[in-house]
């Protein structure tokens, strides 16, 4: 493996060079069965149990296209403002690698199902939000490949492996590949534009229901093409960083590749057209295959599958099923909730939009719904590096929590402990309250007892309050809160205290 090149700090790189990006995104569709056979697409089955003669490429088997996969692709194309082909074919992409048992992958070549679209994305800049139009070259259908495990040898990696083991459960799962046209003019915002684009794609696919996009299971994979050129000069040679599998990594892959290529060019070197591998742990990539010799996949029309020629009325029916586009939905929600761009972006960044909307729909006040999801919960999700929705807290939990806070039986600090309990898997709101013994002490006699004890311990403070220094009451309230382990309502303690001492605010 070649040593990593030096890098140029990002700001310097961007000052000297203009980046051009291209993104190829593969997403597994959420169909029940595979693209060309009836095997299940479910994740995580025992090896080679979701296979049949078609996806094992046995002689004499005949693939048949999954109608739902075609519909999902057309709907995605329409949502990306694409034109839908009147007639197109599948093609065989031939190569020698055992991740496909047939020695070819069924894909589409020069006749994609959808083409010439665009997606508008918004990135945050110091001057406020800025919109970019990312043009879409094509959206096409293909099948996923099997999974190889390299065995033997010293390293467990492909280099030095003695042999490989193949599981074909994933082979034949429907994929769509979405390819952008070159993205130019993003400059220093290029890494953010790349991330915003993939984020928007993910949201769009979830909104369409064509895929649930489980990134942690690798159901969305991105190949990132980057080239640099000096302003006014022709575009440079591009590299392709493969298998970038998280939103954060898309941004980091673009950034690190700009820094790396800038160093090569600054030193008078030549960027090599190659495939690079991204490493999640370091945020850097290492070189893979050189693509100097153009690959020859010997594409030819797939003879076993007849052409797809979607009638226009079918396309229009599918268009009628499109949901509100995520960008329009965001604009509507922001207006409905009456919050600032900045506050709204915080919700978006925290992945809290759906959760807040559902929480409000459950009957919780909009400010309270936002407070819970973007405060404590967003922090916890961030600390743990998981998505907000994966914490195990639901809009129903927040609704119940707010009811208890509203009724005075939980304070905010107790409510936070309830959330801790839910995240730890201790049950729902009422179960955590019961098992942890969390409840505001609302029994006046018990509170007065604690107040008397605190006054007896701090007679000087008691005198000050009696003398009219109401602000000194904080010390006594604090002592009572401590004595009740936070399970008292501070405002109520304060009111009782002043009443006890015959002082008014």
């Amino acid at each position: 493996m070649t040593a990593t090149h030096d890098t140029v700090p990002f700001a310097e790189a961007i000052a000297a060079f203009d980046p051009v990006l291209g993104l190829e995104t593969h997403v597994e569709l959420g169909t029940a069965s595979k693209m060309f056979c009836g095997c299940p697409t479910m994740f995580g089955g025992a090896a080679n149990t979701h296979v049949c003669p078609v996806c094992l490429g046995l002689p004499g088997s005949l693939p048949v296209v999954n109608r739902t996969a075609v519909e999902s692709t057309i709907r995605m194309g329409l949502a990306l403002n694409c034109r839908i082909a009147e007639w197109c074919r599948f093609a065989r992409k031939n190569y020698f690698y055992p991740d496909m048992p047939k020695d070819y992958q069924v894909s589409q070549y020069d006749e994609p199902l959808c083409f010439d679209g665009y997606l508008d994305v918004t990135v945050e800049t110091p001057d406020g939000p800025r919109e970019f139009r990312v043009e879409i070259e094509r959206v096409h259908m293909e099948e996923d490949t099997g999974k190889l495990t390299h065995a033997g040898g010293a390293t467990g990696r492909i280099h030095g492996a003695d042999y490989s083991l193949v599981d074909y459960n994933r082979a034949g799962i429907p994929l769509i590949e979405i390819v952008t046209k070159p993205i130019v003019g993003a400059g220093a915002l290029a890494p953010q534009v790349a991330r915003a684009y993939v984020t928007e794609l993910r949201d769009l696919m979830r909104a369409l229901g064509v895929s649930d996009v489980r990134m942690e299971e690798g159901s969305l994979r991105c190949d990132v093409n980057v080239s640099l050129s000096r302003p006014g000069e022709p575009w440079g040679t591009r590299s392709e960083t493969k298998n970038v599998n998280s939103l954060r990594s898309v941004e980091r892959a673009v950034l690190s590749e700009i820094e790396r290529q800038a160093a090569v060019l600054r030193d008078g070197g030549r960027v090599i057209q190659e495939t690079r591998h991204f490493h999640e742990d370091t945020g850097r990539s290492t070189p893979g295959r050189s693509k100097e010799q153009a690959e020859d996949y010997r594409y030819f029309p797939e003879p076993d599958l007849v052409p797809v020629a979607p009638p226009r009325d079918w396309v229009e029916q599918l268009r009628a099923t499109l949901p509100e586009p995520p960008a329009a939905r965001r604009a509507r929600l922001r207006a409905e909730w009456g919050i600032s761009d900045h506050e709204f972006q915080t919700l978006v960044n925290a992945g809290a939009l759906d959760l807040v909307e559902q929480t409000i729909a459950a009957g919780v006040d909009s400010a309270a719904a936002r407070k819970w999801w973007t405060g404590e919960l967003a922090r916890t999700a961030n600390d743990r590096g998981v998505e907000l929705a994966a914490l195990g807290v639901t809009p129903q939990h927040i609704k119940r929590l707010e009811e208890l806070v509203g009724a005075g039986s939980l304070s905010d600090s107790l409510a936070r402990q309830v959330l801790e309990g839910i995240i730890a898997g201790e049950g729902d709101v009422d179960e955590v309250v019961a098992s942890r013994g969390l409840a505001v002490v609302s029994d006046d006699a018990a509170l007065l007892e604690a107040i008397d004890a605190a006054l007896a311990e701090q007679p000087d403070v008691a005198d000050k309050i009696r003398g009219g220094k109401v602000q000194a009451a904080g010390a006594i309230v604090g002592a009572v809160m401590k004595a009740t382990r936070g399970q008292a309502d501070a405002a109520k303690v304060r009111a009782l205290l002043l009443e006890r001492l015959g002082v008014s605010e």
């Binding site: 029940a32 299940p40 094992l56 002689p59 296209v65 490989s164 083991l165 599981d167 007849v306």
Partner: protein, 98 residues
């Protein structure tokens, strides 16, 4: 056009992992030869004004419903695989690829 030999058929059978008896090799060599000769005649008549045909039957939009169907039993696949280990196909190591 040279005709297909028995050795060619044997080679193709091995690539397709088909076990053919010696008399079958002769039988298919003859049959395949007829097919090849027939296809070869197409190039004699194909002119520039005839577009390449990818699908001989003018048909489109053959779809199946998105319904899960049972596949094959893993034991049967394992029995037919040239090499099998740990419930997976065992394949030779792949060089210069990743």
């Amino acid at each position: 056009m040279t005709s297909l030999t028995r050795a060619d058929v044997e080679h193709l059978a091995r690539l397709a992992r088909l076990q053919l008896a010696p008399e079958e090799l002769d039988h298919y060599a003859g049959q395949l030869d007829v097919i090849l000769q027939s296809v070869a005649r197409v190039s004699e008549v194909a002119a520039d004004d005839i577009p390449p045909t990818s699908h001989p039957i003018p048909m489109a939009n053959v779809f199946r419903d998105d319904v899960v169907r049972p596949g094959v039993r893993r034991d049967d696949i394992a029995a037919a695989a040239p090499a099998w280990e740990d419930d997976r196909f065992r394949v030779p190591r792949i060089l210069d690829e990743e």
